[in-house]
Each structure stands twice: as structure tokens, then as C-alpha cells.
């Protein structure tokens, strides 16, 4: 557990640094990426809708080409629509084909409800919090 907390602390620091270094507003959705011990972490923030989806899809594809362990941190996503869901489903299916890990974490309540309504909560690997997602992937 201590390892996980330490990892999360490192990650948060990295995330903060990257956020400050690359504020991206013009694409409809901000996001930061970080690498923690070989695990790629994508942290979008804002509305994950049809407007933002192409850009996130591109970023997911880029990361998946380079890494076989990916965590998508949705803790800063207050809203997801069906296009956002579809983007994540595509990435999850791609990960399965590649035998790669693909974990979601940090779902806020309104977003979690959408996953439950569509039963996608059963299809995705969803961690309660991002620290435990990282801990699991390190094992």
C-alpha cells in the first residue's frame, strides 16, 4: 500500500507539472499524460463529449501504440456522452486484442451512472481509485 501511495504522489506531482507546462484549451478538452514506472496515465479534464472525442481518441491511439499498460483517469471528467463512451470502448477493445492492460479510474457519480445504465461497468476494468489502479498494474 505504501508503494502505491508513493507512486500516486509521484504521479500527481508529474501531472501538476505537465498541466502547468502544457495548458491546452483550443481542442475542447484539456488532458495531461504521464508515465509512471512504464504505466501510461491519461488524465482528461472537462466534458468528454462528441466535440472532445476525436482528440482523445487520437491521444489514446498514440499511447496504445507505445505502451501496453494504460490508465485513464476520469476524476476530472464531470460529463461523458455516448461518443465519449464509444471512444473508450474502442480503446478497450484494441487493448484486449493486444493483450494490453486498460484500466479506468476516478469515475465521478454522474459518469459512473452512465456506465451502469449501459452496463459498460461490467465490460471495463474500473478501479475504485487511481492509486489502486496503479498498484494493480505494477504487480
Amino acid at each position: 500500500m505504501t508503494i502505491a501511495v508513493a507512486a500516486f504522489a509521484t504521479w500527481s506531482e508529474e501531472r501538476l507539472r505537465r498541466t502547468m507546462a502544457t495548458p491546452t484549451e483550443e481542442h475542447g478538452m484539456e488532458y495531461v499524460t504521464a508515465i509512471d514506472d512504464g504505466i501510461e496515465i491519461l488524465s482528461p479534464s472537462g466534458r468528454f463529449d462528441a466535440f472532445a472525442a476525436p482528440q482523445i481518441a487520437e491521444e489514446l491511439a498514440r499511447i496504445q501504440a507505445a505502451s501496453d499498460r494504460l490508465v485513464v483517469d476520469l476524476s476530472a471528467v464531470p460529463f461523458i456522452d455516448s461518443t465519449g463512451l464509444a471512444t473508450l470502448v474502442r480503446a478497450m477493445k484494441h487493448a484486449r486484442e493486444q493483450n494490453a492492460s486498460f484500466v479506468l479510474c476516478g469515475l465521478v457519480e454522474p459518469v459512473r451512472i452512465i456506465f451502469e445504465l449501459t452496463r459498460l461497468d461490467r465490460a471495463f476494468d474500473i478501479a475504485d481509485d487511481c492509486a489502486s489502479a496503479l498498484a494493480t498494474l505494477r504487480q
Binding site: 460529463f79 456522452d81 454522474p110 449501459t118
Partner: protein, 587 residues
């Protein structure tokens, strides 16, 4: 013997049945008796001879039937020492009324009920294991059941051609084993027939599965195409008694044309009724589209001309009401070809049954249906139902009837159209008790309502970035809505997602990246929030999208699924160049 005896009554019964079913002349020559004969002989029959009996039948009766029944005749004649009453029972059983075109379950139930009745026993059970699966039927419990024991007093194997089965009898006096054997054979042949029938239907159903599912079932459920007209509130629902039934309810016109509805019922059941039903619906739609001045009267008359020979060929007919809704005049004009019940309730008046003035489609080459106009201003209600409601029986066999139908409409007339329809279905179901739904049930309700003004209206550019303005716009709409106190955070989240999905669909699929705008209107009261969304993109009904398979994650289809899940009502309509989608959420 001082004089030649006549044939036993049971033999008479069987021969009479032959004569009814096509035989013209019958001669029976039984061992030790002078010949018995019925009907004039033309002398062209071939006799069938067994050790005990020679049978000569002339006329149109299948050889298999003659062969089968001859065995029974032999048995009847051999049962000389059996009591006269036993023979009579056997003869009665021989007249089983089991039609050839019913399914296995119906045949089994009819067989056990008649056997229990004829044999005067407490209970008759048949178990069969056939290619169409295992089935069981037990006779209805008698009012007085003196023998409560489950132990069968007699059992027989059923000599089925297409499977295996047993006949068990509980209670009653001892039954002659030969009679029991004859009964088992008789039951087996009826069950074999019904298996063949059910398989042929299943085959046809499989072949037509796609078409039927599309053309018949989806069109029987008018939920998705209920039109929206200012000053009217419309609801329609059809609840089929079987997978494929005879009721239909449809809407026509609307794209720059007057809006019509049609409600009807094709006589008969099953596939032929379903096919005629879709033909009738297609014909009515065609008349609305292509008659230069469509009126309900003209539509019914022309549809009858087109369909008359089709109906006559198969000995069927269809009742139909066609109505034209006139929002400008707040009225409806109706023509009725033999359909009932149609109930009209003017505001402040008791409901009345509107009797059909015309005959059903397919009965005569003319229907005599005439247009009549009814006012549908605020508080006036029109209910077009099918006879599946008033003819529903309870467990004692009593019908729901017109009286209860009118009383239910009277009690519910102030409610929204949806609640009037649901209330009618519920009242009929409650009346039926546990009894099965006898027939298709269809209800169309049109209510005159005030022409409401929206509490909030906004325009959005049709591009994905502009949709980012929705949360702020929704907050404003909620702040001005009469039901704002009842709009919780969860409801707000659901509204936002549902509206967002609809708007995204319009941008991506409707306008498909061309420029345009979308109008949003929020209305309703303290009990519901109504969101009307209009655009001028190509005709596009997002509600037609197939539902996703929730057991397999996929990339398409979740949007409209979520809209349906989150909203209580979703309706699409096309008016002129405008797509109109209405979402309703109850508060």
C-alpha cells in the same frame, strides 16, 4: 331376435359425422347383422373389409379417416357386453371438437377438458414429449373434487407418430380398458395433427421472421410515430394477445399533408391475419398519400375496392376506422367501416359509443362508411379501441362489455391521453382477474388540450462546439420552469445527457456537418417537463436506431438507448421541412 336391430347409437354418431364431413353414402355390413346404409348410393365406392365389418363409403371423405374410424366402429361393435352408457360416452368422445388448425397447447387443453367431462372423472392429464418440446395439460378442476389423491386410477401411452406421451386419469368409476385405448388413439391423432400444424407455422414464421418483425410487429406498436399536433394530445398502444395478431393502429400523412390515423382489426389470427393486416395498413397509407383530396370516407372506400378480392379469397375481413385530425378547427372527421368500440366524450357530457355506419372492409364491394365530424376542443376526448377490450372475459366467462368501457372512460377523461389508455388496459386486466388475454387489445386516445406556450426557448448553432452551451441554457430553462422544485440534480443530469445526445445526433447525422440551427423549447407543468427539439435537417428519426446489445460492449447505439432510458416519453414527427423530437420527463 324378432326383428333386425338398428346400428348402435355410437355407430350412428360416427356415420353422421362422416356424412357431415363429405360422405354421401355409407353402407356398413357387420358380422351377424343385415347391412345398414345411409344416403343414396351412386355405386362407385370401394369397400373396406375387416374381419368384423365391411365399410363402403362414397363421396369426399379421406381414406385415412375412414380407416381410422373403421377401427373404432369395430371396437364399438365388439363391445357388445359393455354398458350402453359406455358406448354413448365413446360416441360423444368421437365428436371431439378439435379443429385442425390450432396449436399443440390448445389441442391438449381442449382434449383433457372434454375427456374429463365425458368420462365424469376428477382429473385428466396429458404429458407429451415431441419435436416441438415437452407439453403438459390438466383438465380444469371440477367444482367438487371428491378424489383429491394425485394417484392416477388409469394411464395409457399415447400412440403418437411424432413423439411420446401419456394420458392419465384420476378418480371416477373404472373405465373399460378398450374404451380407454380408443380414447388414447383419438387424442393421439388430434395431437399429431396439431404438431404438424405448429411446425408448419413455425417454418413459415422463420422464413418471414425479418419481414414480419419489421412490417408487422414494429407497425403494431405506433409508439414511435405518434404525431404531435398543436391542441391535441395523442397516445396509442397495441397489446397483442399472441406474437402475431390482427389489430393495427397507424398514423399517416403529416409531411405537408393532413394527419390521419387508422385503427382496425383483421378477423382471424396468426399469419394470414398478420399478412392481411400489413396489406391493409399499406393500402390505407397509400390512399392517404396519393388520393388528391383524401377524406376518411374516400380512403375507406378506395381501400375496400383494392382489398375486397384479397379478403374474399381467404374468407376474411377487417374492421377499420380512419380519422383525419384538423388542428385548425379543433376537430376530427371519422369514417367507420364496422369497427367498434369508438367512444367520444364531449367536455361536460357523458361518454357515448359512436356506432359504425359502414360495413367492414372485404365484406361487400361497397362499405357505406360516411364522414362525420366531432369537435375535439379542450376537454373533449376520442377513444378508438378494439373489441379485445370489451370482449375480454373474466374467469366466470363474463365480458368486460361496453358499459364498463364507458364508465372507465368517464372516470379517466380528465387525465392525460397516456393515462386514459393505460387506465383502460389496467381496468380490463383487473376485470379479467387471472384469465388470459383473449384477443389483441388496442387503444388510441386523442384529447383536445390547450395550446400551450413554452416557458423557455433557445436557438443553438448546429455544431458540436456550440452544444457546449447546453448546460448553461438548461440551468436557465429549469430556473423558469413551473416544476423547478421537483427537478433534482439526478433529473437535471439525465435531462442534460438526453438533450445532449439528441442534439449531437442532429448535428452529426441530420445536418451531417452542414450549417444549420436547432430550436429548443421547454414546457410542461409541475408534473412533467416537456422538451421540444426542432431542426430543418433532412428527415431523420433518431428513435429508429436499433437498441444496443447490452451484453457486448460496442461503439454505436448507446446514445438513443440512453435517451430512452433517461426520459419517460420520446416521440418523433416530421412536419413540412422540420424534424420534431419531443422528450418528456415526469417530475
Amino acid at each position: 331376435m324378432t326383428r333386425p336391430p338398428g346400428p348402435p347409437a355410437a355407430v350412428e354418431t360416427i356415420v353422421e359425422a362422416w356424412l357431415e364431413d363429405g360422405a354421401e353414402h355409407v353402407t356398413l355390413t357387420a358380422r351377424g347383422h343385415p347391412p345398414w346404409s345411409w344416403g343414396p348410393s351412386s355405386g362407385d365406392g370401394t369397400p373396406l373389409t375387416t374381419s368384423a365389418l365391411t365399410v363402403l363409403v362414397e363421396g369426399d371423405l379421406p381414406a385415412a379417416r375412414i380407416a381410422h374410424d373403421t377401427k373404432l366402429l369395430v371396437e364399438i361393435l365388439d363391445l357388445a357386453e359393455s354398458a350402453a352408457e359406455a358406448r354413448h360416452r365413446l360416441a360423444t368422445v368421437m365428436r371431439f371438437e378439435v379443429p385442425a388448425d390450432v396449436d399443440v397447447a390448445t389441442t391438449l387443453q381442449s382434449t383433457v377438458d372434454q375427456l374429463a367431462d365425458v368420462l365424469a372423472v376428477a382429473r385428466v392429464t396429458i404429458n407429451v414429449e415431441t419435436e416441438v418440446g415437452p407439453r403438459t395439460a390438466t383438465s380444469a378442476a371440477p367444482v367438487v373434487d371428491p378424489d383429491r389423491s394425485q394417484e392416477a386410477t388409469a394411464t395409457r401411452a399415447l400412440p403418437l407418430n411424432r413423439g411420446a406421451g401419456t394420458l392419465s386419469i384420476v378418480g371416477g368409476d373404472a373405465i373399460n380398458p378398450e374404451i380407454l385405448d380408443a380414447l388414447a388413439r383419438r387424442a393421439a391423432s388430434a395431437i399429431d395433427l396439431s404438431i404438424t400444424y405448429e411446425e408448419s407455422i413455425a417454418t413459415v414464421r422463420l422464413q418471414n421472421e425479418y419481414e414480419l418483425a419489421e412490417r408487422v410487429q414494429s407497425r403494431m406498436l405506433p409508439r414511435r410515430s405518434v404525431p404531435q399536433l398543436t391542441g391535441f394530445e395523442i397516445f396509442a398502444e397495441s397489446r397483442p394477445a399472441r406474437l402475431v395478431g390482427g389489430d393495427f393502429c397507424d398514423f399517416q400523412g403529416g409531411t405537408g399533408r393532413p394527419t390521419f390515423f387508422s385503427v382496425g382489426d383483421v378477423s382471424g389470427k396468426g399469419l394470414p391475419a398478420a399478412i392481411l393486416m400489413s396489406m391493409t395498413m399499406a393500402t390505407l397509407t397509400n390512399k392517404v398519400e396519393y388520393l388528391p383530396e383524401p377524406t376518411p370516407e374516400a380512403i375507406i372506400a378506395r381501400a375496400n375496392e383494392d382489398m375486397y378480392s384479397h379478403f374474399t379469397d381467404v374468407g376474411m375481413f377487417a374492421t377499420a376506422v380512419v380519422g383525419k385530425l384538423d388542428p385548425e378547427a379543433s376537430s376530427v372527421s371519422l369514417a367507420n367501416g364496422g369497427h367498434s368500440p369508438v367512444v367520444y366524450k364531449a367536455s361536460g357530457m357523458p361518454p357515448e359509443l359512436i356506432a359504425p355506419e359502414g360495413t367492414p372492409l372485404g365484406v361487400l364491394d361497397e362499405t357505406f362508411a360516411k364522414d362525420r365530424t366531432l369537435r375535439l376542443a379542450t376537454g373533449d376526448v376520442l377513444v378508438v379501441a378494439s373489441d379485445g377490450l370489451n370482449e375480454q372475459r373474466d374467469s366466470q366467462g363474463e365480458m368486460f362489455g361496453y358499459h364498463r368501457l364507458l364508465a372507465t372512460v368517464e372516470a379517466l377523461a380528465d387525465q392525460p391521453a397516456r393515462l386514459i389508455a393505460i387506465g383502460l388496459f389496467s381496468a380490463v386486466r383487473a376485470f379479467a382477474g387471472g384469465a388470459e388475454q383473449d384477443d389483441d387489445q388496442t387503444v388510441l386516445v386523442v384529447r383536445g388540450v390547450p395550446r400551450t406556450t413554452p416557458s423557455f426557448q433557445a436557438e443553438l448553432d448546429a455544431d458540436l462546439e456550440a452544444l457546449r452551451g447546453l448546460p448553461k441554457l438548461l440551468d436557465e430553462a429549469i430556473a423558469r420552469h413551473p416544476g423547478r422544485r421537483a427537478i433534482s440534480d439526478d433529473i437535471r443530469t439525465g435531462l442534460e445527457l438526453a438533450i445532449h445526445e439528441v442534439l449531437t445526433n442532429i448535428v452529426v447525422h441530420g445536418y451531417a456537418d452542414t450549417r444549420g440551427s436547432i430550436t429548443l423549447r421547454f414546457g410542461g407543468d409541475t408534473s412533467e417537463i416537456v422538451i421540444d427539439i426542432e431542426d430543418q435537417a433532412r428527415a431523420f428519426d433518431p428513435l429508429e436506431a436499433p437498441m444496443p446489445d447490452l451484453d457486448a460492449p460496442q461503439v454505436h447505439g448507446y446514445g438513443m438507448f440512453l435517451v430512452r432510458e433517461l426520459m419517460d416519453t420520446t416521440e418523433y414527427g416530421r412536419r413540412g421541412q422540420t424534424n420534431h423530437l419531443r422528450l418528456i420527463k415526469h417530475l
